[in-house]
């Protein structure tokens, strides 16, 4: 029972964080058709912003979390201005956007390295300590993370389903021209999506860094997995991504418990290949349409 419970809990925990990151990726893909390879860097930006607020400014953790989201969102807007806007409507969008976001990711990571140094940093947990149940340790911080993530994801879902701007985001992802004809300012919507998704990445950064550690390169691995989640769930599908996040989280966790950490990436990789062969559009993906 113990390993199963451990795998499950670990899976829910990482699944929650992957969900936060993957949702942002899928939103951006669904609307802007951008594969944002700078997402991992935004994770790091948020985490370092939080750390700065905590350690340098000495403010409480809540402020740090807010800072993480806001600062990351600002950088997300910056990416929109510097990369997305100039490239819109040009041929060669696919390659240019990938290279440009990679460049931004490199630059941000290098900047973090220069400013904060290579030594690993820690973000203290909101609630230290843990409880043992059935031989498995459940950290309070872990529970906080899951709670925050679930609330955020649900809020986002609600926002997309019911609010005027949320519906506009979904509309733009389904038919850009028709949305414009309804009076939706498409480019502003892109900016909004970039900021929301960046904010979520920043949130994931501060949350996960409180469990593990923080270094300038911390964002890369979560981004790779978030990419896997996005693709597995079906690019552009919010529901699919959330489900996929937990599935992949649990899969990774199970592999870690039973086979050891170094096996998780290879197993995930093979799993991805298998999934993509059977269902090339992911779990909930639809062939050409892009749905939110």
């Amino acid at each position: 029972m113990r390993p199963v419970l451990q795998a499950l809990w670990g899976g829910i925990l990482s699944g929650s964080v992957y969900g936060l990151m993957a949702i942002g990726l899928t939103l951006i893909w669904g609307t802007v058709r951008l594969l944002n390879l700078a997402h991992g860097a935004l994770y790091v930006v948020g985490a370092y912003a939080a750390w700065t607020v905590l350690e340098i400014l000495g403010l409480p953790l809540a402020a740090a979390i807010v800072a993480a989201v806001v600062v990351a969102a600002i950088f997300g807007y910056g990416i929109h201005l510097l990369v997305v806007r100039p490239l819109l409507g040009r041929a060669g969008w696919d390659s240019a956007s990938i290279i440009a976001t990679v460049g931004v990711a490199i630059a941000l990571t290098a900047a973090a390295l220069l400013i904060f140094g290579p030594r690993v940093k820690q973000i203290p947990p909101v609630v230290p300590g843990s409880v043992i149940f059935s031989g498995v340790r459940f950290s309070y911080q872990g529970m906080v993370i899951v709670a925050v993530a679930v609330v955020s994801l649900l809020s986002l879902f609600f926002y997309l389903a019911n609010s005027r701007q949320g519906m506009a985001i979904r509309a733009v992802s389904q038919d850009m021209d028709a949305s414009a004809l309804m009076g939706v300012p498409v480019e502003t919507t892109y900016a909004r999506v970039m900021m929301i998704s960046a904010g979520l990445a920043g949130l994931a950064g501060v949350l996960l860094s409180s469990l593990l550690f923080l270094s300038p390169n911390s964002g890369f691995a979560p981004m790779i997995i978030a990419l896997m989640v996005t693709i597995f769930g079906g690019l552009g599908s919010v529901k699919g991504t959330i489900v996929a996040a937990y599935l992949i989280g649990i899969l990774e966790s199970t592999v870690q418990v039973y086979l050891g950490g170094s096996w998780s990436l290879p197993v995930l990789f093979l799993f991805m290949i298998a999934v993509l062969i059977i269902r090339p559009n992911g779990l909930f993906g639809v062939t050409e349409a892009h749905r939110l």
């Binding site: 040009r90 041929a91 990938i98 290279i99 460049g103 990711a105 290098a110 900047a111 990419l227 090339p280």
Partner: protein, 364 residues
């Protein structure tokens, strides 16, 4: 230099060349002579040793850059697995020569084969999928092999230090020239062979198919160009020379370690292609020279250099997607006054496209 019709002679030569373009033999012979003689001149000076070393690096890395450009810049396959293929080549030859006692000359032949095999294995499931998925899977593959190289079984990781003490080439009767000079020649020959092979590919009917794939997959498929087979061929072809370069580098340096998987290496080679000239023939070669030069020139600035590199990548992608080489080449050509001469390189990605293509979101 103009004939009676008012066109320059060079102009007519270009437009006369058919799909199989003939290289300019004169220039090549000239460069070839210089290249052969160079080490002898340089090695007389102390600084010359360093320059020869840099030239070896240049030859080998530009092969990698050119190969990756074939895949990424020319045919629009968003693969990030190039370094992984390089590493596969290096590791295979290292293991064969170290552990099985193979003669390096023999084991280095296994390098390109192993790399190509890896490429085909990865390419089979991956290349059928949409571009976006290729990014992910090749990135994951890179990450995977990188993990294996640093935390895998001892035989491969060498305890985390990599494989050291890889046997060097035995140059037999030519040993008198010195290891450095001989390595130079080996690198030079590989560079020439690879570059010529890539040139032929570029300027062949298959080459046009590649850029057709990149510019408009729909059109290419409609014309009966079998995407998948071409992509797979290309993928394997690019891995072949990359693996060879990896093997040669390993024997030259005498070691290989997981540091080759570091992000900075990946970015450096990417920058060689992007900043040098994405999709063009000369671009990656120029880019390699540029990047290697910058690396040495800005050695002290290490992390700052990475920051600038990242910004440069983004800036080039946004502002000058074709990279530096085409601009330099066109500028040079204008200088020589060759009006409207045919582009001897493959067309770079065009920018004047109808809004009706599927190229991505439009600003409306």
């Amino acid at each position: 230099m103009t004939d009676s019709a008012g066109r320059s002679v060079l102009d007519r030569l270009d437009s006369a060349a058919g799909p199989w373009r003939t290289p300019r033999w004169g220039t090549i012979a000239f460069l070839g002579v210089i290249a052969l003689v160079l080490p002898h001149l340089l090695l007389r000076f102390g600084a010359g040793t360093f320059i020869v070393h840099m030239l070896i690096l240049f030859f080998l890395w530009s092969v990698v850059a050119q190969s990756w450009n074939l895949v990424l810049g020319v045919s629009g396959i968003y693969s990030f697995a190039q370094i992984a293929f390089f590493a596969v080549g290096g590791w295979v030859t290292a293991l064969l020569s170290m552990n099985l006692g193979w003669n390096p000359w023999l084991s280095v032949l296994a390098a390109p084969l192993a790399a190509t095999l890896a490429a085909i294995l990865i390419g089979l499931p991956t290349l059928r999928l949409r571009g976006v998925y290729v990014v992910l899977l090749t990135l994951a593959f890179h990450e995977l092999l990188g993990n294996l190289a640093s935390t895998g079984p001892r035989e491969i990781t060498g305890g985390g230090y990599g494989l050291i003490g890889v046997p060097r080439f035995d140059f037999g009767p030519l040993s008198g020239l010195g290891h450095l000079a001989n390595s130079y020649y080996v690198a030079l020959i590989s560079f020439v062979v690879a570059t010529m092979a890539i040139w032929r590919l570029f300027h062949s009917p298959i080459g046009s198919a590649f850029s057709a794939l990149r510019d408009s997959e729909g059109y290419a498929v409609g014309r009966g160009i079998n995407q998948f087979r071409i992509k797979l061929f290309l993928f394997g072809f690019s891995a072949f020379f990359t693996g060879l370069a990896g093997g040669l580098m390993t024997h030259y340096l005498g070691s290989i370690s997981s540091s080759v998987f570091a992000f900075s290496v990946l970015i450096n080679v990417l920058a060689m292609i992007v900043i040098g000239g994405w999709g063009s023939f000369g671009g990656p070669i120029f880019g390699t020279a540029l990047l290697l030069g910058l690396q040495e020139g800005l050695r002290d600035l290490a992390d700052f250099r990475t920051l600038v590199l990242g910004l440069a990548l983004a800036a080039v992608a946004v502002l000058a997607p074709t990279g530096a080489w085409p601009k330099l080449r066109d500028g040079f050509r204008n200088f020589l006054d060759q009006p409207g001469s045919g582009d001897p390189d493959l067309e770079e990605p065009t920018e004047d496209r109808s809004a009706e293509t599927e190229e991505g979101p439009r600003l409306t």
